[in-house]
Symmetry: C2
Subunit: 189 residues, 2 copies
């Protein structure tokens, strides 16, 4: 069991999106989502005009090791790139490990993909989504304020970002008049 | 990876303490905590006078299998047995797996024990506690209304209730004038 963390207390701030104590905050800007948005020209234009912040991840200091259970708050800003809503890069776990998301503030959703079909789960305060082992996952801000959620996952999970970059997530989440639409790959132009 | 759960949406109700969808609700009454309270006569008397409910566990339908990540809401009623506050039975994981608790409503705490020393972490809405692999854990209601918290743990963790029954948790949480005290084993009569 080796170098386990000690027990510790943490605060989960649904207003600021910060966990305390925390690892260095991860920031992801539009440039970090290269190759993920359908409209490459809109993506390039956003990078060139200020390269805005898309999301942050505030993680508790839990080692990413077997047996440990890391947890973090992700905060996604409201916005879109060519009509496709702000989102996380999305990833698969490299090990067959699941994950739990619980909404803390704002409105968003969880897009899942098992390589063949996608699923969509709405998240908001009081709502959770279960990611079984073997499903790629990405979150999306569908509202007009920051969308924040708690994530808890096994420390052995690992992160694979390459598969999403290559194969996508089976669907894209597009802004519509007064709402959004989860558009399956088959329906895309 | 076998018979994995499908992705699903759940609600976490901090007012009722229920997860939806849920496994059959677990109820624990004073009689279920046999051998855990210091004052055996007070425990017997409580069993004989109504055997009140001490806590419930409302769990999402996630299999307790390697790779899965079960989650549940525990609700502990306010009360005490001979001055020792209402609490869960407490357990160790049979595998070296950690767990995360996040307070949802009311006031309580997390008592941890590694077989030599104990730790105490206060829990309330916005506060979390990290249980590393290798630490026994029990929760306690230190307030005057139900104390509810979210628990997330690896499906391979397993539950060992026998070690707590035999060795205790290193400390007891005792009602005092206007508050409570975490009394280490060495200080007990």
């Amino acid at each position: 069991m080796s170098s386990s963390a000690s027990p510790f207390a943490a605060t989960l701030d649904a207003v600021s999106g910060r966990v305390e104590p925390e690892h260095p905050l991860q920031e992801r800007r539009v440039s970090d989502l290269e190759g993920l948005y359908a409209d490459e020209a809109a993506w390039r234009s956003a990078v060139d005009s200020g390269n805005p912040l898309v999301y942050t991840v505030s993680a508790a200091p839990v080692p990413e090791e077997a047996g440990e259970v890391p947890f973090s708050i992700t905060s996604i800003e409201p916005g879109d790139v060519g009509g496709e809503l702000y989102m996380t890069k999305g990833h698969w776990h490299t090990a067959p490990e699941g994950e739990v998301y619980a909404g803390l503030s704002g409105e968003g959703g969880l897009l899942l993909f098992d390589g063949r079909e996608h699923r969509w789960i709405e998240l908001r305060p009081g709502a959770a989504g279960y990611i079984p082992p073997g499903w790629g996952h990405r979150t999306v801000n569908t509202g007009s304020e920051p969308f924040r959620f708690l994530a808890v996952y096994p420390g052995a999970a690992g992160h694979d970002y390459e598969t999403v970059l290559r194969d996508g997530m089976g669907a894209r989440v597009i802004r519509t008049n007064g709402g959004y639409e989860v558009r399956a790959r088959e329906e895309q132009a």
